[in-house]
């Protein structure tokens, strides 16, 4: 029952249940608001008391400036008075300057630098007192009171360093508040007879107390503790207007005396403003508080903040504007950072931007979710511009070159490219490799590529310095050690371009045989020799060589491996098109009748292809059938667990599986499709199968799946230690490094600069370990588990 506002009889009426509930809720809200007001008022009163006290303390601190006394030695006065400094002889003036710098360093706890600065002052110098004082000072700053006393006890009590030492040492006393000062100079002298540190006159006692308050009692810390307890306007807020206003005042008052505390609280405020989705409060915070050294105006922070809402055009534009302003205005003018650091930051921003623009790799086979959702177009011009800017800003940015190479190679993987489309990409790749080699002259990777590319284009002289460098280097990479072999092989292939040079080729092949790397099969050599015979028009000799090769190797003539090796050798040795045609026929026939190919033939071919892959000697026609054959082999192996397990230690099986991993096991770019047996013993713990999986994953760069393979890095490192084959010994370590590098960069990625977040808008999904829009089995399972957890 309630009385209506007019209070009349008719006003008396029965309240319904829901009205009573509403009324109760309102009463509760009123009560809460009143309580909060009381708390704020109380806290305000307390803060005002503390603030008044603190204002007096700050005034005292502001009055604290060194002042000379009558008869004070000029060398001491010069330490704080420029006019007196100018009157000193140059040697003394230099020593005074050193003392000034050392005091600054000692006050910042940079002990070694401080002592180093005054090391030149000799014992006979009138400034040696300062050297002694500084020795005690660095000990005092490190809370080593006894060591400080030991140094200071020899100081002249009538000079400034001696007096400073008395104030400093007494500031450590817990009973300082109850200590009384010596009233007269004589009393002070009498006390000094007991101990130098008892020579405490009134000014020194005052200074000791002030110092104790500034350094040990830390009023500002107490005020900050009370301030941060101020309730925010709503319990949903991490940082409200009231707290922002309080911190602004606090920062103004204490920035001078407690710079680190103020900076730390400002960083917390910015972090809290960042963590909530109220852009008005975020803007207030970034305007009010200074950011860290590299981002004083919080432009980078604003970029990250607005980047979270990238589905929205307005916030996307705000985010881009903030980053552009940071990169073009703020960063170049930031003198708090060294010039190399400024350039390195710019380079990394350009690289991150390029990576954010790059779509995941185009699929080899299978379906690509990204392309279905967003189409295959990407802004190649913008991507190139960002990659180039990254390399220009910091020419030693290895990651920038690697990512650029990776991007171009992903384009070159497209089988549908014609020669005119392919050539500019290869030229671009060559430019990147040249820049890489110049920017990081100790890297073998670009040089290895350049040797192949330059010899392919008959630029022998341009290739020579790289070959010489590689041959002389002590790189662990077995491919580098194999350079003398490869040089001869490539030179033989180059000479085959002109028939008149054919005579020079057999001796070169003999030399290549002598330098053949131990880790690489020689199966290809007789085919190369046969190809030279064919190129030279010696058809009978060629036939004899083929027959002999088949007999010696046990491969049937025109079987898959035999046909592919011959076609590859003939193409590399520039056999004319008319002679190539019959060599293509058995390969084309095999591809047409994939179903009928015996698995043994596929395994044998896989073994040969793996060698060509790792020696980086794939022939041009490989693009037409390599992928198809790899998919067929993998489909067969995926359904033949027994065969895999039976031959799990067979090097031929290893080569075949590793070759399939080069083709990402026939998976698309989004999800690595592996049979169940891959995650069971003994396959799961076999070094070659682990290496193959990591190799495939790194080619896909699927963040979700790679994340789960972090244990593979230490596993591969351990496997490398016991591996006998020099190639695998090196390659396992390299895979482990690449995997760790990827995981590191991925763990740093967060939402900013991340292509996934830009495409999906990850603002609310940051703590999910699955993609809410993805329908792959892993994400589906993780999503179901998450939903079940949320319901429970």
């Amino acid at each position: 029952m309630r009385v209506t506002e007019d209070g009349g009889d008719e006003g008396i009426e029965m309240a319904t249940k829901s009205q009573r509930k509403k009324q109760k809720r309102k009463q509760k809200q009123r009560k809460n608001r009143a309580q909060q007001r009381r708390r704020v008022a109380e806290s305000g009163r307390k803060n005002r008391r503390v603030a008044a006290d603190s204002a007096r303390y700050r005034q005292r601190l502001e009055r604290q400036t060194p002042e000379a006394w009558e008869g004070e030695p000029s060398v001491d006065v010069a330490v704080f008075d420029d006019a007196v400094l100018e009157s000193l002889p140059s040697e003394q003036a230099n020593q005074v300057l050193a003392v000034r710098e050392a005091l600054q360093l000692a006050g910042e706890s940079r002990a070694d630098a401080a002592l180093e600065r005054v090391a030149e002052i000799s014992r006979g110098s009138p400034l040696s007192e300062w050297r002694l004082f500084l020795r005690g000072m660095v000990a005092w700053m490190a809370d080593e009171g006894e060591a400080a006393e030991e140094a200071w006890k020899r100081l002249d009590p009538e000079r400034r360093p001696g007096r400073m030492a008395v104030a400093l040492i007494n500031a450590l006393r817990d009973d300082l508040e109850s200590v009384t000062a010596a009233e007269t100079k004589d009393q002070a002298s009498d006390a000094a007879a007991e101990s130098w540190k008892d020579r405490l006159d009134r000014p020194l006692l005052y200074h000791a107390k002030l110092l104790r308050r500034a350094r040990f009692d830390r009023t500002a810390v107490r005020i900050a503790e009370a301030g941060v307890r101020l309730p925010d306007e709503s319990r949903h807020l991490l940082l409200g207007p009231r707290k922002i206003s309080w911190l602004k005042t606090f920062a103004k008052e204490y920035r001078q005396t407690e710079p680190r505390l103020v900076a730390a609280l400002e960083q917390v405020a910015l972090g809290r403003a960042f963590a909530q989705d109220y852009s008005d409060l975020f803007n207030q915070a970034v305007r009010a508080f200074s950011g860290p050294r590299h981002d004083r105006r919080n432009l980078l922070l604003s970029f990250f903040y607005y980047d979270r809402f990238s589905e929205d055009a307005v916030t996307e534009s705000l985010s881009e504007r903030a980053l552009r302003e940071y990169l073009e205005t703020d960063l170049p003018q930031n003198e708090e950072l060294s010039e190399p650091l400024r350039r390195a930051i710019a380079s990394q921003i350009h690289l991150n931007e390029a990576l954010a623009l790059v779509r995941p790799r185009s699929p080899g086979f299978g379906m690509n979710m990204m392309e279905i959702l967003y189409g295959s177009s990407e802004d190649a011009k913008a991507i190139r511009k960002q990659f180039q800017a990254a390399a220009k800003a910091w020419p030693a940015n290895r990651q920038a070159y690697r990512a650029h190479v990776d991007w171009i190679e992903s384009k070159l993987e497209n089988d549908r490219l014609n020669k005119a489309q392919r050539e500019p990409l290869v030229e671009e790749l060559a430019r990147v490799m040249r820049d890489w080699s110049r920017g990081l002259p100790d890297d073998a990777e670009p040089r290895l590529w350049l040797v192949d590319h330059l010899l392919e284009n008959e630029e022998t002289e341009a290739a020579r310095p790289h070959v010489e460098w590689l041959a002389a280097s002590r790189q662990e990479d077995p491919r580098v050690r194999a350079v003398p072999w490869k040089w001869r092989l490539l030179e033989a292939m180059r000479l085959c371009r002109r028939k008149k040079n054919i005579d020079q080729v057999p001796p070169l092949l003999e030399e290549a045989e002598a330098h053949w790397p131990a880790w690489l099969s020689k199966a290809w050599l007789p085919y190369l020799q046969a190809a030279v015979l064919l190129r030279g028009g010696q058809a009978d000799e060629y036939e004899r060589q083929r027959e002999q090769t088949c007999r010696a190797s046990g491969r049937a003539r025109d079987s898959l491996a035999d046909a592919c090796l011959m076609l590859g050798a003939a193409q590399q040795m520039r056999v004319p098109h008319s002679d190539l045609k019959p060599l293509r026929a058995p390969v084309d026939a095999a591809v047409k009748g994939l179903d009928e190919l015996p698995i043994e033939e596929l395994l044998l071919a896989g073994e040969c292809f793996w060698d060509l892959h790792r020696a980086q000697l794939l022939y041009p026609a490989y693009r037409m059938h390599g992928g198809k054959l790899a998919r067929e082999l993998w489909d067969r192996l995926a359904n033949s667990r027994a065969l895999v397990v039976e031959r799990i230690d067979d090097p031929q099986m290893h080569s075949a599986v590793l070759w399939c991993s080069e083709h990402r096991f026939g998976s698309g770019s989004y999800e690595l499709k592996l049979p169940k047996w891959y995650s069971r013993l003994p396959v799961r713990e076999h070094r070659m199968f682990v290496a193959a999986k990591v190799n495939a994953l790194l080619k896909m760069r699927n963040v979700f799946e790679i994340r789960e393979e972090s244990d593979a890095a230490p596993f591969l490192r351990e496997a490398a230690q016991t591996e006998r084959d020099p190639f695998y010994r090196y390659w396992f370590n390299r895979l482990a490094n690449d995997l760790e590098d990827f995981l590191k960069s991925e763990s740093r990625g967060g939402f900013g600069f991340d292509s996934f977040s830009r495409m999906f808008g990850a603002a609310d999904d940051d703590d999910l370990d699955f993609d809410p829009d993805c329908d792959c089995p892993r994400c589906r399972a993780a999503r179901q588990a998450h939903e079940a957890k949320s319901k429970s």
């Binding site: 604290q64 070694d112 400073m164 400093l168 200074h207 110092l211 730390a264 590299h294 763990s747």
Partner: protein
Amino acid sequence: MTTTNQSDPFQILGVPADAGEAEIRARYLELVKKFPPEREPEKFREVHAAYEAARDPLLIARRLLEPPAEEPPQWSQAIEEQRQIRPPLTPAFLLSLGNRAPEHRASVDASG
């Protein structure tokens, strides 16, 4: 990611990601004193390698460009950390500790 933390030179040295060259060097010298090569050769090697890495501008740049943590930072933690770090002392304040009472001050007026 444990692998990241174990090889993080800033974490090994115990300095923030935006630490300046001087701060990194000071901390390095402190650690070298604590772990001299003759007594703690392994730890010294780790510290030295971290020092070399932490001076690489590109590595520093990568750290600085990491987006802020998603978890909101806590006021109490920052205050507690700051409580352990004493504020620096400026030379002017330090030098003023040796001042005598006002009556002893050197006269600066024209009468000398």
